[in-house]
Amino acid sequence: MSGVKSRADLEKLRRAILSGRDFAKPCISVCAGTGCLALGCKKVIAALRDEVQKQGLEGRVEVKETGCPGFCEKGTVVVVYPQGICYLKVTPDDAAEVVSQTVNAGKAIDHLLYTDPVSGQKAIHEHEIPFYQKQMRFLLGNNSRIDPKNIDDYIALGGYDALAKALFQMSPEGVIEEVRRSGLRGRGGGGFPAARKWQTVRDAKDGPKYVVVNCDEGDPGAFMDRALMEGNPHSVLEGLAIAAYALGAHEGFIYVRAEYPLAVENAAVAIQQAENYGLLGDNILGSGFGFRVKIQRGAGAFVSGESSALMTAIEGRVGEPRPKYVHTSERGVWGRPTCLNNVETLANVPIIINRGADWYAEIGTEGSKGTKIFSLVGKVNNTGLVEVPMGISLRDIVFGIGGGIPGGKEFKAVQTGGPSGGCIPERLLDSGVDFDELGSLGSMMGSGGMIVMDEDTCMVDTARYFLDFLADESCGKCTPCREGIRQMLSILNGICEGRGKDGDIELLQELSVAIRETSLCALGATAPNPVLTTIQYFRDEYEAHIRDRRCPAHVCRELISYYIDPARCQACLICLKNCPAEAISGGKDRIHVIDQSRCTRCGNCLDLCPTRFAAVRKMSGQPVPPSLPEEDRLLVRSEE
């Protein structure tokens, strides 16, 4: 492929690609993101390719491996073009039908379509599915149309046009101004105005300057950046190149966590292909501007996602945060001015350049513009990635898009912002997702992780979970974070294990102040958030654990007991035979009784007891009723 040496060349290339494509030609797009890979999409793809060949359609039907379209609950997701028919939960066995019925005969396959759980209504196209209807998918929308390993797909959709526009029609200052007017704020968690950071780096007198993409996405349950980097790496590259042009950098790094091997691979392929086309390298599009990108892999530390720790890691040293009184935008990697942006932040840049800051600023709220991708996970029906305009209410996301809580359970809380964020209760669900509004609730937007919790979630245990995570992931350098988290965890473990005492809550709050104010980096400073928000909104659960030795959600092992209701037990022997502690006594026609002294609270019996009997239940805060005397344990069945 000869290099594309001017803007006109790029336009020619795009037209050449487009003219080489037949939009009437059927294309079966299969999601090949990590989520669907885990569900076995490779087998689906192989089966489809097999079928295409078997049915003599080789060369006339394309099977494309694409990025993640976000509906992870219903993977493997397949979209058949040109009709745009969306199939969910596709298995290899469905391949034959998909090819013969849909591709060949143009008919939709009922059992693969989305079915509304209440009305039973089917939806054929993506935009008819309720999960997608309230979304605004500017960033993720193209994923089903792009094979991340083929740059032509991206160019065909208008890719790299924004870079060309920036290089030839705008000055670097003009680019920054456009981003400033758009109101773009960092999507990694800090929410810092992107243009302000770019300006600082641009104004820095020292050189050379660097741009860095933070793809270290470490929040548990967050996978937005993964979907972008795996599914549409060029969108990030283009944004990165525009940023580099704006602030005068000629070298960039993409820092990808090692736990995202597919993202690493696709980013590397993307860089190579972009270089082949002259879209990266010494003289991009003949503009005279040169920019090269390297990939740096993470090594398994959450703290390396902190900007100064990440830069230290790029330098080849242990990823530990540095004091940031001298900003990294003035002294970053190797002491040079460095601009670090999140993947999603940069993916927004080409869109802003292409459609203009005014258009972008129309979306969202006063203080938070544009869209945000959230990873909606936990106790919710429709798990996956949702891209919504800023300002949409949490209720709309959890219930409107997420489809509410499975199993008819009660919503309890939604956790945003990962280990730095907080839990928001039901009464505040109408709050909009906005940097400042979430902050005022005691939580934060964070990188976009959104965990839904129901009545079976213990909020004290949730706080403990995040502290446990941070105790491991803290770099350990500063006393308030390392020792503070250690001690908060110790107190929470005590509370969850029935050793809580009066004053524990107050001690946690007191300790939190010092941790917040004296920690070296944001990991420590925000570590108390989950504890503080759960105390603020769910104090009653803490008090139950401490005063009554009771876990209202029946989660904390040391505080719960399993009990077999003698009125419901039908002596089926299932729980007895499967108890790993051999704690259940009984027999055929003899009521089963759990020996509390041997029970390890593994929950097997509850899971296995047939639903029509539902004889096992959890109890907390009170002793188990005394067991029936031996002679009364004989089961007398009524003749039915």
Partner: protein
């Protein structure tokens, strides 16, 4: 460097651009506590105790003063309510981390933290993970023998792969820098290396004490200037450290300094090369080197010196106890045809002085001096000896001991001697034996004599043959000798001779 004026606790402080708040505060004698800060190491910002509140344009925030740069007009509060509150919590956390660390207990007392409400995981732990040991080893020693391993609550200081004994792997120099910077005493060298640290013996302390590679030889040194031992200095070994040079305010340290050959045209030379001590370990009958409690007189001097290794306490080597009795043996090496035939002139008097000193430092300590002849020649010297006998209970026994044995259980030396007054051979069990060793010609005086083309006498001292009329003239015109260079003599005589030699030199110079 630009001057920067800031305000700390309401006080105007003048600092220099590039300084941190902590450095500026300390230069103005304002105390900000810190545990992980060291002047000679890059600031770390780990313990967070040095947190202060800064106010800028109406907004205040908490920063660590050890890394925050000073700025013109900065307003700093080192003990605001918020700062004290946070500091107390940090101390409480550290008390749980290392309850036995003295420095933290002191901080707790200072800030009124009476107890810790937190769980103490390891009551024996002393390490607060301040990183000083790792940083000094990396930045100054250049060995990086220890560093942090593990993350979060599992962080700790370790050697690579936790190995201490594999010699090939062992980059540790056993220099002890880590232990010396550790604020809590948590570092034990044996946990880091199997190598034994080799203390640098102080020549002046006769090997009884140690010195540093940069040292002032002794308190009365002239000139009183530090010397750098090239063989033991880390900078010469690894290229690192150089802390002394960095902190020397007048900039007096120059590692590149080499010996200079200076050519001087002179009219006269005075040889004042002094003496060296006779090595008594060759006299095996006295057991020096084998019996611990047999020491030389010079070692005795160091033990009783207030600036010496024991601060003036006469503690015997084997068990550190103060001896109840001491035996001095005169003429060790002197007046001995097998060694030095001459009399060393000063030993009788210094033994008497030492016996009196022992009694003054430790009343009740009795001394016995085994002598051949008491050479108390000089103004009031004999009276001094008589005082020793009457006022300080010093016993003088005329007789040259033949052997010093040892009681294995107590370590007490046993002196075998013939009392020439009575003719009996006796033994005297004592707790400490002091050998008054001979004075020898200075090492290297033979080469010097060769260079100067002057003769030595039969005993190896510089020959001054024209006694008594030219007592300081050597065998070569214009070259003079004074002091012990030409024979043992005491301080007053040496001083007189120094004047004499100077006068002689002046004579010669005015002649020419």
């Amino acid at each position: 460097m630009n001057e920067v004026v800031l305000e700390i606790d309401g006080k105007e402080v003048r600092a220099v651009e590039g300084m941190t708040i902590l450095e500026a505060a300390r230069s103005a004698a304002i105390d900000i506590p810190s545990l992980c800060y060291h002047r000679a190491l890059t600031p770390y910002g780990g313990c967070r105790l040095c947190t202060v509140e800064i106010c800028n344009e109406g907004r205040s925030r908490m920063v660590t003063s050890c890394v925050y740069p000073v700025a013109e007009g900065l307003v700093v509060k080192t003990r605001s309510d918020a700062v004290v509150r946070d500091r107390k919590m940090l101390i409480e956390l550290m008390l749980a981390q290392a309850p036995g660390a003295r420095v933290i207990q002191d901080l707790a007392a200072e800030y009124g933290v009476s107890e810790t409400r937190f769980e103490v995981e390891d009551p024996e732990n002393l390490c607060i993970l301040c990183g000083l040991c790792a940083r000094v080893c990396e930045e100054r020693v250049g060995a990086s023998a220890i560093n942090f391993v593990g993350r979060g609550v599992k962080r700790r200081v370790e050697t690579p792969f936790q190995l201490t004994s594999d010699v090939d792997f062992d980059v540790c120099l056993a220099c002890g820098s880590c232990a010396s910077v550790c604020p809590t005493g948590a570092i034990k060298l044996e946990d880091i290396t199997a190598k034994k640290p080799v203390p640098l013996s102080s020549e002046f302390e006769m090997g009884l004490g140690t010195r540093a590679p940069v040292y002032i030889p002794f308190p009365q040194a002239v000139p009183k200037v530090a010397a750098l031992d090239r063989n033991r200095c880390l900078h010469f070994a690894t290229g690192q450290c150089a802390i002394c040079q960095e902190f020397c305010e007048p900039g007096a340290i120059d590692f590149s300094q080499e010996d200079e050959i200076v050519e001087l045209e002179v009219g006269a030379v005075i040889v004042a090369s002094g003496f060296d001590l006779f090595d008594v370990s060759g006299l095996t009958e006295y057991g020096y080197g084998k019996i611990e409690n047999v020491i030389t007189a010079m070692e005795f001097e160091r033990l009783t010196a207030a600036s010496g290794p024991t601060m003036g306490e006469l503690r015997r080597p084997s068990d550190g106890r103060v001896p109840g009795n001491v035996a001095f043996i005169q003429c060790v090496g002197s007046r001995d045809i097998n060694n030095k035939a001459y009399c060393s002139a000063v030993c009788c008097m210094h033994a008497t002085k030492e016996a009196i000193l022992a009694s003054e430092h430790h009343p009740g300590t009795k001394s016995t001096i085994f002598y051949m002849d008491m050479r108390a020649v000089g103004k009031r010297y004999q009276e001094y000896v008589e005082r020793a006998k009457t006022e300080y209970d010093v016993t003088y026994i005329r007789g040259r001991p033949g052997e010093v044995a040892m009681d294995r259980e107590t370590g007490n030396p046993i002196v075998w001697y013939t009392d020439t007054a009575t003719g009996e051979t006796k033994m005297c069990e004592t707790e400490l034996v002091v050998l008054c060793q001979a004075l020898s010609p200075s090492n290297g005086v033979a080469e010097l004599a060769d260079l100067l083309d002057i003769r030595l006498d039969a005993d190896g001292f510089v020959s001054t043959p024209e006694k008594p009329f030219r007592p300081v003239d050597t065998t070569r015109h214009g070259i003079f000798a004074c002091g012990c260079a030409h024979g043992p003599r005491d301080i007053p005589d040496s001083v007189i001779q120094a004047s004499a030699a100077a006068a002689r030199a002046a004579e010669v110079l005015t002649d020419s």
